[in-house]
């Protein structure tokens, strides 16, 4: 039986990756910290090990004897307010994992990045070869993802066998922190305070997870794979969500206003360490959204993206089953305070 360490195995992509590995007959180990949300992991047949990521020996120890290490825990900045700090933190985290993998002599590291790290192209779908020569300006999220990718690439040159997976916006079950899923939860609960139109590419998280497993088996060292699904206009997506599951939708606002509003709400939220309904990172992803080509992943890994509606239905069913779609009584849709990041209490 093959053994895998899934860093980030308590998160959205990570939990789906754990499921894909277990379905493929792998033995799975997940490093957890004291405050990791282990609630969903506990029901799975995995080994949980306590690891302090600031202790290289602990990380290296957790990697030893594994056939593959997956890093599905890339730093995801809560706010876009301090790019230098967020970039430094992401790079440091990536370096710690890659260093430990190199020293533990793991056969392969599968690293999860994001299409946010890619360049903008015109007239065709973006692919894994479209790497900006310099760090993207004007978006903390994109800059962090770009810098982390470059850091992990440095270790390819030092002999670490890395396969980089570059998914677009993931949709599906186990999105406990409500990432891309906020476009569903926000509409259904009538709590999306604003939105901006543009293009987004969405892909089912389970298809992404399976591609990761295939990458560990078949991906060549240094290979990079875009995992795109369906490029849609945000307006079409939100209208589809409302038509399928109900809810309410405010009018869109211009991009510049959306940027300003997201920044302002993040600044306010940061004073109480709270979360905002529409973070700046989401505005940036819509601004830079574009169709994504998965041709290389289809060719080498057999990647196939299921229909978007199927992914939306799966995500909606999960959010509903976990209580995320309950709306407090007695308040009008779209006039409520920004939605919290997770389930509502019923009242």
């Amino acid at each position: 039986m093959k053994r895998a360490l899934v860093i980030g195995g308590t998160g959205f992509v990570g939990l789906n990756l754990v499921d894909a590995l277990l379905a493929g007959g792998w033995e799975v180990r997940v490093p957890v910290r004291r405050h990791s949300i282990t609630l969903f992991l506990r029901s799975r047949e995995v080994e949980r090990v306590r690891v302090d990521f600031d202790e290289p020996d602990q990380l290296r120890g957790a990697m030893r004897g594994q056939d593959a290490v997956f890093m599905a825990a890339g730093h995801y900045p809560r706010y876009s307010l301090d790019p230098a700090r967020e970039i430094a933190r992401g790079v440091e985290q990536t370096r710690a994992v890659a260093n430990a993998a190199l020293r533990a002599d793991v056969p392969g590291l599968v690293y999860t990045s994001s299409t946010g790290s890619l360049a903008h192209v015109e007239g065709r779908a973006v692919d894994e070869g479209d790497v900006p020569p310099r760090r993207p300006e004007g978006s903390t999220y994109r800059a962090v993802k770009w810098a982390m990718e470059r850091e992990v690439e440095r270790f390819v040159g030092r002999g670490l066998r890395v396969v980089t997976m570059i998914p677009s916006g993931c949709v599906g079950p186990w999105d406990a922190r409500v990432g891309t899923g906020r476009l569903i939860v926000g509409v259904v609960r009538g709590e999306l305070p604003f939105w901006v139109d543009g293009t987004v590419d969405l892909v089912d998280v389970a298809d992404v997870a399976r591609a990761h497993v295939e990458a560990a088996r078949m991906g060549a060292a240094g290979a990079r794979y875009c995992l795109g699904g369906h490029a849609v206009r945000v307006s079409d997506l939100l209208t589809t969500v409302r038509a399928r599951y109900g809810g309410a939708l405010p009018e869109p606002i211009p991009l510049a206003e959306a940027r300003e509003r997201a920044d302002r709400e993040e600044r306010e939220a940061a004073t109480r360490r709270g979360r905002v309904a529409v973070p700046r990172e989401l505005v940036d992803l819509v601004e830079h959204g574009q169709p994504v080509s998965s041709a290389a992943a289809a060719r080498d890994l057999g990647f196939v993206a299921r229909p978007l509606e199927a992914s939306l239905d799966r995500a909606h069913a999960w959010f509903e089953s976990q209580g995320y779609l309950r709306t407090p009584k007695g308040r009008d849709a779209c006039s409520r305070p920004p939605m919290d990041a997770a389930p509502a209490r019923s009242s």
Binding site: S36, I37, S43, R275, A344
Partner: protein
């Protein structure tokens, strides 16, 4: 400590304080988790995770969503322990 109702109650309150990064004596049973203490949804998931790890219990999330006060959280722990005894 976790083998008695009083011990579990104290530990539940300590964990709420730990997650909120406040002094434990500022967390009182009648307080509302969200409105009074500012526990957000992800912190609620964190609390369920920590309780699950320490008590070695699977805590039903559906029921956890109904919790309003610190007292509710303590009672929820006792109900779950009793159901798993």
């Amino acid at each position: 400590m976790l083998e008695t109702p009083d011990g579990r109650r104290s530990r539940t309150i300590e964990l709420i304080a730990e997650i909120l990064e406040v002094q434990v004596d500022t967390v009182r049973p009648p307080q509302r988790l969200r409105e009074d203490l500012g526990l957000d949804s992800l912190q609620s998931l964190e609390l369920l995770s920590l309780l699950g790890e320490e008590l070695r219990l699977e805590l039903p999330m559906e029921e956890a969503l109904e919790l309003e006060t610190v007292e509710d959280a303590c009672a929820f722990v006792e109900r779950t322990v009793a159901a798993n005894a």
